[in-house]
C-alpha cells in the first residue's frame, strides 16, 4: 500500500476500505474461503462435508451509542445475525466481546445488554461465550463490541457471484435511514421529525422467503457503503451490469431532506436493517409480497435488473431517459461544500 498510515477513509466500506483489506489482510491471510468475499463464510467442520456452518464476525464502534431506533447493543446482534441471514443461514450461537472505557456508566451498560437480549430472542440465537475488557480512559470511545456468530445454512448456493442476465433486484424497504439518522444526531442537526435508524434483524424476513420455497440468487444487507456498495460488489463478482431505475428506489422525505442539505447520495449511506435481493424474474413479485407483510418493509419493491450492457458497472436510469454510473463510494463521507 502506498499509504503509510491508516486513515478514516479506510473504514468507509467503499474503495479505500476494500484496498486496505486486499493489500494488507488478504495478502497475508488470504485463503479460498475468505476470497469468496461473502457476508458470512460457509465452512465445513468435517472433511466429508457432513457438517456445514455459516460463520461470521463484526465489530461495532458507533457514536452516539444510543441513537434513534437502536443502540450499540442492538446493532451488534443485528449486524452479525444479519450477515448469517444473508447467506440463508439461521443464526444460532454468538460470542460477545466487549471493550469498555474506564468510567462507563453501569446503567447504560445494562441498557445495552438488555437490547442485546431482546435482539437475540428475535433471531432465536444465544450467546455462548463472552469476554470483557476495561481499558483506561481515552483508549476507546466509551464502548466497543465485537460479536461472532455461527448459523445453520438452510439453503446453499446463495452468492454474490451468481447473478445472471434477467435477474431482478429487490430492495426490502426505504434506504439510508441509519446513515442519515446518525449523521443528523452526531452533527446536532435539528429536524422536525427525527429519523429512526432502520436497525433491525433480518432473519425473520429471510425465513419467510425461504419457507415460501423461494431461493434468492443473492442477498446482502446494505450496511457501510450503502446500496451502492452492494450493487457494485455484485456487478463485479458476477461480471454483469446492474441497471437501477433511480425513481423506484424508495427514500423517505426526511432522509432525502438531509441528503439535499448535506450533499449526500442516499445510495451511499449506511443501513442496518435494509437488504437487497437478486432474485429470478419469476420470484420477484412474490418476494416483494412476502416482504410487505412485515410492517417496516411496506416500501419493498423491485428497483432494477441484471443486464450485460456495461459489465461490472451499476447504471442508474433517470425518468427522463438519461443514465449515469453509480460509483462505489470513496473517501470519508463528507458533505460537498457547494
Amino acid at each position: 500500500m502506498k499509504q503509510k498510515t491508516v486513515s478514516l477513509a479506510s473504514g468507509n466500506g467503499g474503495a479505500e476500505n476494500r484496498d486496505l483489506i486486499e493489500k494488507v489482510f488478504f495478502k497475508h491471510l488470504g485463503n479460498e474461503i475468505l476470497a469468496r468475499g461473502e457476508d458470512a463464510s460457509i465452512v465445513e467442520l468435517k472433511a466429508d462435508g457432513g457438517c456445514n456452518v455459516a460463520f461470521t464476525t463484526d465489530s461495532f464502534t458507533i457514536s452516539p451509542i444510543f441513537f434513534s431506533g437502536g443502540d450499540i447493543g442492538k446493532i451488534s446482534v443485528c449486524g452479525t445475525c444479519n450477515d448469517l441471514a444473508m447467506m440463508g443461514a439461521n443464526p444460532k450461537y454468538l460470542t460477545l466481546g466487549v471493550i469498555i472505557e474506564e468510567g462507563f456508566n453501569v446503567r447504560d451498560l445494562e441498557k445495552i445488554v438488555r437490547s442485546i437480549k431482546k435482539e437475540l430472542e428475535i433471531n432465536g440465537a444465544i450467546v455462548v461465550a463472552g469476554d470483557t475488557k476495561v481499558v483506561p480512559k481515552g483508549s476507546v470511545d466509551k464502548i466497543f463490541i465485537n460479536t461472532s456468530g455461527i448459523g445453520e445454512p438452510l439453503v446453499d448456493g446463495i452468492s454474490a457471484s451468481n447473478l445472471s442476465e434477467g435477474d431482478l433486484i429487490v430492495v426490502s424497504r426505504d434506504i439510508a435511514r441509519h446513515g442519515a439518522s446518525i449523521f443528523a444526531s452526531r452533527e446536532g442537526i435539528e429536524l422536525e421529525n427525527t429519523i429512526d435508524s432502520d436497525c433491525a434483524s433480518l432473519f425473520p424476513m429471510v425465513e419467510a422467503i425461504l419457507n415460501a420455497g423461494i431461493k434468492p440468487v443473492a442477498m446482502r444487507d446494505a450496511t457501510r457503503g450503502g446500496v451502492s456498495a452492494v450493487l457494485n460488489e455484485w456487478a463485479v463478482a458476477s461480471d454483469v451490469c446492474i441497471e437501477i431505475e433511480e425513481a423506484k428506489v424508495p427514500v423517505s422525505q426526511e432522509v432525502r431532506g438531509i441528503c439535499e442539505m448535506l450533499g449526500f447520495e442516499p445510495m451511499s449511506l449506511a443501513n442496518e436493517g435494509t437488504f437487497l435481493l437478486a432474485v429470478k424474474k419469476e420470484d420477484a413479485t412474490k418476494v416483494v409480497e412476502i416482504l410487505k407483510n412485515f410492517e417496516q418493509n411496506k416500501d419493498a419493491t423491485i428497483i432494477g435488473k441484471v443486464t450485460s450492457e456495461y459489465k461490472k458497472r451499476v447504471v442508474l436510469l433517470s425518468d427522463w431517459g438519461t443514465k449515469r454510473f453509480l460509483e462505489l463510494p470513496t473517501g470519508e463521507l463528507l458533505p460537498r461544500i457547494c
Partner: protein, 380 residues
C-alpha cells in the same frame, strides 16, 4: 402535508418538465448556424449536469465546458500546505468545510495530517467554529476559510462574533475566491504567457448562489463588454435546462444579454447587508493562485490589515512555507477550462492522474471536468 414536502424537490426534477425543456432546446438549436459552447462556471452545475445526465439531452451542436469547478478543486497546493503546517502545530485545532480535508497538498492532505495526530475537524457552517473555540479554551482554533462569494459572509460573521464575544482563541486562514475575476481570466487573460485568445467559450451559465449574495450585476460586463450571453441559473436540473434554453434563444435571436433564470431569489443588486459585512472585514488580494490556472489578479480576498491579529498568514508567517509549487507539467487543465482541449487529450488522463491520485485541479473533486470524464466517460 407529507406530499407537499416531496413536491418541493420533485417539481424541479420532474421528468415531464425536463423532457419538455429538452425538446424546446432541440427545436431552437436547429436554427443555429454553428455549434455553441456553454461554460457552466460552478461545480454545482457540473454536478447537476452529470448527476442528472443532462449532457445526454443536448443536441449535437450544444456543448458544455466544465468551469473551474468548486473552491476546493482550485485551491493550490501552497495553500493546502499552509493548512497542513498549521494543523500540525501542537496547540491547534484546524476547522474547515467539507471535502477540503481530502485534497492533497505537497505534504499530504488534511486527512493525512489527522492520521498523523493533528486535530482537524470539518464544520457545516463557519459559525460552528465558535462552539469548538468555547469548548477548547486552551487551544488555538484556526478556521481555514474556503469558498466563493456564497460562504464569505459566513466567515465574516464568524469574525464579527469572535470580536463581539471577545474570544481570543479563534484565528483565520482566508482563501475566499471570487467568480467574475476568474471568468474574465478564462476569456481574456492578462498574463502574456497564457493563450486565451483561442478560448472557445461562447456563453456562461452563472451560479445563482453567488448572485444571491453579490447580485447578478457582477456578470453584466460579460454580456456587454465581452459579448458572451449569461444566464444566471439555479442548481436543479430544470433550472439548468432552462438556463441553456435562454442562452440558445439569445443566439437564435441574435441577442447578447444577462438574463436571470433563477428569479426565485436572485436580484440585480444581491444582498446588500452581506456585501457590507464582507467589505467591513475583507479586501482584495492583488494576485491569488488558482490550481490549474495560475495567478489571477484580484480574484481572492484577505483580511484587512486592522484585523491582522486574527490572520494566521501574519501570525505564523515564519513557519508557513513560501516556495512556489508548479502545477504538474503535463496537466492541461488551463486549456480544458478554456474549452481548448478535452480531458482525454491529456497524456496522463486516467493513468497517472485519477480521482484517487489527482495531478491537476480538474481531477480533484467529482465536480471537475477530468473526474467527470473519468467516471462517466462511456456514458457521456
Amino acid at each position: 402535508m407529507a406530499l407537499e414536502l416531496k413536491n418541493l424537490y420533485d417539481d424541479f426534477r420532474d421528468a415531464k418538465t425536463i423532457k419538455a425543456l429538452a425538446k424546446l432546446i432541440e427545436e431552437e438549436a436547429t436554427k443555429l448556424d454553428r455549434d455553441i459552447n456553454i461554460m457552466e462556471v460552478c461545480g454545482g452545475h457540473t454536478h447537476t449536469i452529470m448527476k442528472y445526465g443532462l449532457k445526454q439531452l443536448m443536441p449535437n451542436n450544444i456543448h458544455f465546458i466544465h468551469g473551474p469547478g468548486c473552491p476546493v478543486c482550485v485551491m493550490p497546493k501552497e495553500r493546502i500546505d499552509h493548512a497542513f503546517v498549521l494543523a500540525m502545530q501542537e496547540d491547534v485545532i484546524l476547522c474547515t468545510l467539507g471535502d477540503m480535508i481530502k485534497v492533497p497538498g505537497s505534504r499530504g492532505s488534511l486527512q493525512d495530517a489527522r492520521a498523523n495526530g493533528a486535530d482537524v475537524r470539518f464544520v457545516y457552517s463557519p459559525l460552528d467554529v465558535l462552539k469548538v473555540a468555547i469548548e477548547n479554551p486552551d487551544k488555538k482554533v484556526i478556521f481555514f476559510a474556503i469558498g466563493f462569494e456564497t460562504t464569505t459572509p459566513m466567515t465574516a460573521a464568524l469574525l464579527e462574533h469572535t470580536i463581539k464575544k471577545e474570544l481570543d482563541n479563534i484565528y483565520f486562514h482566508i482563501n475566499h475566491v471570487t467568480v467574475p475575476e476568474v471568468m474574465q481570466e478564462l476569456i481574456d487573460s492578462r498574463d502574456e504567457h497564457v493563450d486565451s485568445y483561442n478560448n472557445q467559450i461562447d456563453a456562461f451559465i452563472g451560479p445563482s448562489h453567488v448572485s444571491v449574495i453579490s447580485g447578478a450585476k457582477i456578470y453584466s460586463k460579460f454580456a456587454n463588454q465581452y459579448k458572451r450571453p449569461v444566464a444566471v441559473s439555479g442548481f436543479e436540473p430544470v433550472d439548468v435546462m432552462e438556463g441553456v434554453l435562454m442562452i440558445v434563444r439569445q443566439f437564435v435571436q441574435n441577442r447578447c444579454e444577462l438574463e436571470i433564470q433563477y428569479k426565485r431569489s436572485v436580484t440585480m443588486d444581491g444582498n446588500l447587508n452581506a456585501q457590507k459585512l464582507i467589505d467591513r472585514y475583507f479586501e482584495k488580494r492583488g494576485l491569488f493562485k488558482w490550481r490549474g490556472l495560475g495567478n489571477v489578479p484580484n480574484s481572492a480576498l484577505k483580511l484587512k490589515d486592522e484585523y491582522s491579529k486574527y490572520d494566521t498568514e501574519v501570525i505564523y508567517s515564519d513557519i508557513l512555507p513560501k516556495e512556489e509549487i508548479e502545477d504538474h507539467k503535463l496537466c492541461i487543465c488551463g486549456d480544458i477550462l478554456r474549452g481548448m482541449a478535452t480531458p482525454n487529450e491529456c497524456q496522463v488522463f486516467g493513468t497517472a492522474c485519477k480521482p484517487s491520485s489527482p495531478l491537476g485541479s480538474c481531477m480533484v473533486s467529482s465536480e471537475g471536468a477530468c473526474s467527470a470524464y473519468y467516471k462517466y466517460g462511456s456514458l457521456l
